[in-house]
Every structure is written in C-alpha cells, then in structure tokens.
Symmetry: C2
C-alpha cells in the first residue's frame, strides 16, 4: 500500500499550504504515485495559446531559449503553469502506473494512450527533454512524466482519429454535450460564432435536437465564418452581423424569426461585449448559454436587468459527464464535420 492522497491533489501542494493545486505557486512533482493517482509517460504537451505566444515572444522565436524558459517554469513550480499568463494547457501520453485506490473512474488500463482534460496549471509534471517544437500548433514533443489526481478528467484517445484532431475536439468537448442537454425539438436556436471550432459542433448538435420543425440560425461577424457555415449546411439560416452590436443582433434575429426570437442562444464567440446581443435575441423565459470565456458576469447580469428581460443565463461548464465521448462521436457521425475538422485540425 502506498500513500493515500486527497482526490483534489491537495497532498501535492507545497506553497502556499492549504490551497488547491491550481492556485498553488508550487506543487510536488515527485514521480512516485500516491494510492489514488495515475502516472503518465507524456509524449506531447499542448501549451495554452496565450502561454505559448508569451514564451515564444520572450525567446524571440529561439527554441533553445524556449526550452530554457519551459524547463525553468516546471523546475520552479512543479507544473507547466506560466506565471505571466496564468494559463496551462493539456497533455497526451501513455498510462504507465495506476494507484490501487483509483476508484470511481471510467476504466483505464496501463498502456492506454490518453489526453488529460484538466489544465497543465494543476498537473504535476517532470520534463526530461524537449524533443521537437511544433510552433504553429502550439505543441511540443517531450520525454516527460505527469500525475493525474482521481478528480482529474481525461479521455482515452481514439484510434480512428489523428491525435491532433482528437485534441482539437477534446479542447471544446463540453460544447456539443451541453447543447444536446439544452435544445428541444421545434425550438429556435441561435449559435453566435457558429463558424468556429466549438460553434460548428454546437450547430450540428442543435440542428439534430431541434429537428425539422426547429430553426437553427448561425451568426458570424466575418464573411469567411458565414461562408463556412453556409457550405457546411447545418444551419437553417446564416446571418452576418457584428455580435457586439446588440441592436443589430436583435433586429436580424427578429427578421429571420418573424419577431418570435429564439428559445436558446449558444454563445461560442471568444470576443468581449456580446452579452447584451445574446440576451436581446432570446425570448422571454428563454435560455442563454455562455460558452465563451470572454463573457463578463456583470455585463450579462446587469444587461438583462437593464432591459427587464427574464431569461436564464448559464455559465458554460467545460465539463459534463461523458463529454469527451459525446464530442468525438459528434465529429465521427457527420461526414461534413469529419471532413471539415480533418481539413482544419488533423
């Protein structure tokens, strides 16, 4: 019997004591597992875009300097938690050891190739060597080891999809699963940013749920995004509107729904200032799902109050049960999605 750890990994926190691994400055990256931990032989780090850009800039694109910066972060903090951007990323690797108390999780076996779906900013990591840089994909190939706590989520990588395609899908895995929960047959649905990565998955899932009697509208700011939505053909209508202009959004949605507005808005666009447009496009007692990380809590709350609009507003949770399986299946089951994702992300 090994040492028994906390499900959230607090037993690994070195400074400051008493906090969770994510906010901690430094965690213990000794690669000897506790009872409820999983040891991973890591081959790829998928660094968060903001973090990778910062490191690349600091190193002026020189990979030997990048290596030094990255190794230094992990040496200081026990995790790849960029102190400048505060962000992490994800990793891919092969399960090498499973603690005996790793319980209540979907079955995973030694030798399975997995991607962790929790942030690198909370994952104990030890890098032996950085082997190759993929600057355009924000990925590095490494010889490294990492630990997953039993509260940590992961996905077994599928054999029928390329790892980088799978990783792209898993990055937004919550979106299609949540859309499936929200949309009912016959509803009007608006996907803001429907031409983006999460938007395309939500659009397909929304049309599948709303069915022939429902109306799914894709909104994009750029012509490119709108053309992609039109070409993919999942939307009943595509409108090109600036999502940060609430009156323009309302007017366009009103025209296309004959004044009915929509039951569900799914906001997938990663730019600030789109809260009020989302609220104004929604029917009274309708629902707005904010999947975008650029959402401002106060803009949404005060915006709805300011115009006296009784709508349910949901904070997008990146996790929901079985979200990885659902997201991968979404890309598999539709030939158009499969093709588009392969072109863009494989």
């Amino acid at each position: 019997m090994g040492k028994v750890g906390c499900v959230f990994g607090t037993h690994r926190v070195l400074e400051p004591k008493g906090v969770l691994p994510q906010p901690a400055w430094k965690i213990d990256n000794t690669m000897e597992i506790y009872d409820n931990e999983l040891l991973i032989d890591v081959d790829t780090l998928n660094i968060d875009a903001a973090s990778f850009t910062q490191i690349k800039k600091e190193a002026q694109g020189d990979t030997s300097v990048m290596e030094k910066i990255m190794l230094d972060i992990v040496a200081k903090r026990g995790k790849h938690h960029n102190p400048v951007t505060g962000s992490g990323g994800m990793l891919m690797g092969t399960v090498s050891r499973i603690g005996p108390a790793w319980a209540g999780k979907t079955p995973v076996k030694v030798g399975d190739r997995i991607a962790t779906l929790v942030s690198l900013s909370l994952t104990p990591l030890k890098i032996n060597k950085i082997k190759k840089y993929h600057l355009e994909k924000e990925q590095v190939e490494v010889d490294a080891q990492a630990i997953l706590f039993s509260s940590g989520i992961y996905a077994v990588l599928p054999e029928d999809l390329s790892p980088s395609l799978a990783l792209a899908v898993l990055d937004v895995a919550g979106a299609p699963a949540q859309t499936a929960q929200l949309v009912r047959p016959g509803q009007n649905v608006l996907i803001i940013g429907g031409g983006g990565k999460s938007g395309m998955l939500c659009m397909y899932e929304a049309k599948k749920r709303a069915g022939i009697t429902g109306k799914v509208i894709g909104l994009g700011s750029s012509e490119g995004s709108c053309n992609r939505m039109r070409k993919m053909g999942h939307a009943d209508s595509v409108i090109q509107v600036d999502a940060t202009d609430p009156l323009a959004v309302m007017k366009a949605v009103s025209e296309i729904t004959n004044g009915e507005m929509v039951d569900v808005v799914i906001n997938c666009v990663n730019i600030p200032g789109t809260e009020l447009g989302s609220v104004m496009a929604t029917k009274d007692k309708g629902t707005v799902y904010f999947f975008s990380m650029a959402t401002s809590f106060t803009s949404a709350a005060l915006g709805a109050e300011g115009i006296g609009k009784d709508v349910t507003m949901l904070i997008g949770n990146g996790y929901c049960r079985d979200h990885a399986v659902i997201a991968l299946q979404t890309v598999r089951e539709d030939p158009i999605l499969t093709k588009t994702f392969q072109e863009l992300y494989a």
Copy 2:
C-alpha cells in the same frame, strides 16, 4: 399623437449614435415624453454606493460641492451616470404623465408613487434642485423629473412599508423570486452569505420551498452574520466558514449533510473568490446560483472543469417577472423578516 420611440430608449441617445442608453455617453433629457414613455416627478435619488462614496470624497464631504458635481454629471450626460465609477442608482417619484403607447406593462396610474428598478445610468433625468442630503443612506431629496422607457422596470411603492425599507428590498428583488424557482421539496440547500440582505430573503424562501424534509444551511464568514441567522431561525443549520476557502466549505457541508452535499447553492456574498467553494459544496448534477456581483465567470467555468464537476451554474439575473411583488410579499409574510428588515433598513 406624440413621437414614437424605441422600447429600449435608443431614440434618446445623442452620443455615440447607435448604442443603447446605458453605454451612451450622453442622452437627451428633454422632459417632453415620447408615445411609449412615462414621466416621473422625482423626489428621491438613491445613488449607487460606489458612486456616492466617490462624489462625497471628491467634495471632501462638502454638500455644496457635491451638489455641483451631481448637477454637472446630469448636465453633461443627461443622466446621473458617474463617469468615474460607471454606476448609477435608483429613483423614487410620482407618475405624472403616461404616453399613449405605454403598452404591455402592469397597469400604472398617474399619481402612483413608484421606484424605478433600472439603473440611473440609463435614465433621462433633469434635476432642478437638490433639497436635502442623507449621507448615511446614500440618498438625496430632489426636485427633479425623469423618463422611463417602456422596457424599463419599476415597482409601485407599497403603502404598508416605509419607502427606505421598500427600496432596500427592491434592490435585491430578484433573489427570493429566483430561489422560489430553483428549490424543490426535500432538497438540501446552501445559502452562502445567508446573513446579508439578499441572503436573508433567500434563506426564508428556500426553507419555505424545501419544506420539512429539506435541509437549508446558512453559511457566514463572520460571527455576527451567523448569530443573526441563528436568531432568525430559518436555517436548519448555520456554519461559520470562510467562503473563499473551498476545501473548508466542502468539508463543513459534507459533515452537516453526511457526505450527501447540496442540490442547490445560492451564492449571495459580495466578495471575490467564492466560486470554487460553491461548486465543491454541490452534488453532481446540482445547481449553483451566483447572485453575487463579485462572481468571476472564468473562475466558475474553469474551476468546475478543473475538478471535473458536472454542475449547472447560473448567472443571477436581477430581473424576473413579478420579482418586486414577490420580494415585498416575502418580507411581509414572515414576522421575523419584517422585524429584522425594519430594524436594519426602515
């Protein structure tokens, strides 16, 4: 027939053109109403706390300087929208004219004493004179006029409650109405900040809905707040825990629920850093309602994902249908709430 305006008041926006009245720098405060507007003879301005503090400080407590600052804001912007804090407040007054196209609203008559429930930061206002300062209540008595757009919400002030008590209740009117929507018989409910103004209303409403088979837990950081909750007697249990310490919150809630955790968390505490504690106190598939304006969208979203917790997270909407009537009735129907609110706010 007068001029026909937009329900959101965009016809009053002077600069910049094309935005809504709230983000606008300057709106038209001509006191001649459009068809779908309401004219109010204003007697009291309830200035937002942050705004009032800033003005008082700038004037070094000299009310004649305060008067100059306040009149200057309204002269420049057509509304009492403090350019430093960005905030507004509410007003009380008597309805003096109703536009003929004021439709789809609850009936209101000329002569009714009302409070507007939309921010002063979007309300056309003309101040003739400031008559009296109530520095401790952040209120000023005025001779003024204001306009309410037909999307603007308001409440007719009740005759059986003092205006300042009614205003205190209306300020958090969304909270008890939303609690009533969320809580079902037999559920475990946690009210974070249950000793505060909105918290007390939510606590009473939660116990009423959860019933004898439910368990309502009040959480407060200070002894004073906990003592108040105990004295009021609406909570089944009261726990004194630092809401910004997620592990402490989880442990305390786990102990008191025998490991079950709660179905619904209502977060009413206006301090940052309480998102993760709220998420960790919730059962899988449970609901967290963030009524606190100090909530960080990303902390909530990434916090839930980081620990793999499948919970529904709601952005508190200050408005829901009939919220004012519901909130005032909540205070009326329970003698303990009536007494406590009278002591604190009358």
